[in-house]
Subunit: 157 residues, 3 copies
């Protein structure tokens, strides 16, 4: 399982004293689905005058979560939703069913994706790959108001 | 999949020079199950005099893991365990079976949940949502002694 | 689900002003499989003269991902691949199929594992457990050139 490969690593770039900047992003979702929040993350990085360090995103809920996924073809998101629905279907005899048939599936989907994400910031820019977008995933059927903490730790301009 | 929404973001709060504080949390588990370690994380943050920054939790094992989940109704944890058992059943013809029938399922469950988590700390408090608890998940049947590194990076009081 | 336990926590070790060091690791994969990158991460930590803090690893792709898993018995990795293939089989009627039958399964596998990981560094060493290795998982059939950002935030020697 550890196939032949070549690895190269660029020289270490070290920088001086680090700072912290935080902000709360509030998102009104429109019900179940993937919401691209990459632009908001980039705006925060710019406003914080971030130079080198890492952006942490943290969703303050257990029925919504985060993922980094392809931002090009929207059918990718449709398939990802299909998989999550298959792994956590409604009406599957859940013990926890007092908050509606879509609540326990939402918790399962949150557990299998991410509550916190870190993205390096290099020379003032998020080090995302070309095809990577940051998504908030709303797992409940109805619209919800979701809070995401954005935090940068690193050097500033 | 990117439903209509409204986003608002609070002003950036920036703070001065950051420090690092670390501690090792040792947990004796009672066999498979979810253990709430939120209180220990909060105590560490208080002792470290953390102000603004992020807490990293890192579990030093591959058959136990971490998740942030609902802390209100304990049936949520029962359902989450059911899902993990369904995704990684015992006696499913695993190639790796020398350490007992519950060992390979434990590795799978660890891969599908989290080995590391980051939680922002804002003004001296963990930025968890009201219903969020931090859980160590023991995936092995028998009790184990588990080590979790707690680390705060940020400003201090 | 919250079985009896004992918890002990070591005294907080606090350290002074933190810095950031970054590097890009480029890995040529040999097709689908797990690649151990622990050695490269350790070399980076040494070159960066890291003392106390955290290493962030971030993969800049959505069809490759990261996991921390057992480094002893290679059959563990075989079973993990089996599970991922079962959760995201090829030719399963994916809506997104223009980039080949292994592309959408790769996105699903990436979502269910990790795009970013944090590993504490304590007294100059990665705080990995004895049996923990850091793996890049190539989810595509063919060899790919993958980029991983390595970043250390913390105190230096």
């Amino acid at each position: 399982m550890t196939a032949p490969r070549t690895m190269t690593r660029a020289p270490v770039r070290a920088a001086s004293v680090t700072h912290v900047a935080s902000s709360l992003l509030t998102v009104q979702t429109g019900g179940a689905g993937f919401l691209d929040i990459t632009g908001e993350a980039a705006k925060f990085i710019a406003e914080a005058k971030a130079q080198d360090g890492a952006l942490t995103l943290f969703v303050r809920h257990t029925s919504a979560s985060l993922t980094i996924q392809e931002n090009a073809d929207p059918t990718v998101l449709i398939d990802l939703a299909t998989v999550l629905n298959r792994l956590a279907p409604e009406n599957a005899g859940w013990a926890h069913d007092t908050e509606g048939p879509d609540d326990m599936p939402a918790h399962v989907k949150a557990m299998l994706t991410a509550t916190s994400l870190q993205i390096p910031v290099l020379q003032g820019r998020l080090a995302l790959g070309t095809w990577q977008g940051i998504y908030l995933i709303e797992h409940r059927r109805r619209p919800h108001r979701r809070e995401i903490v954005l935090q940068f730790l690193g050097t500033t301009r």
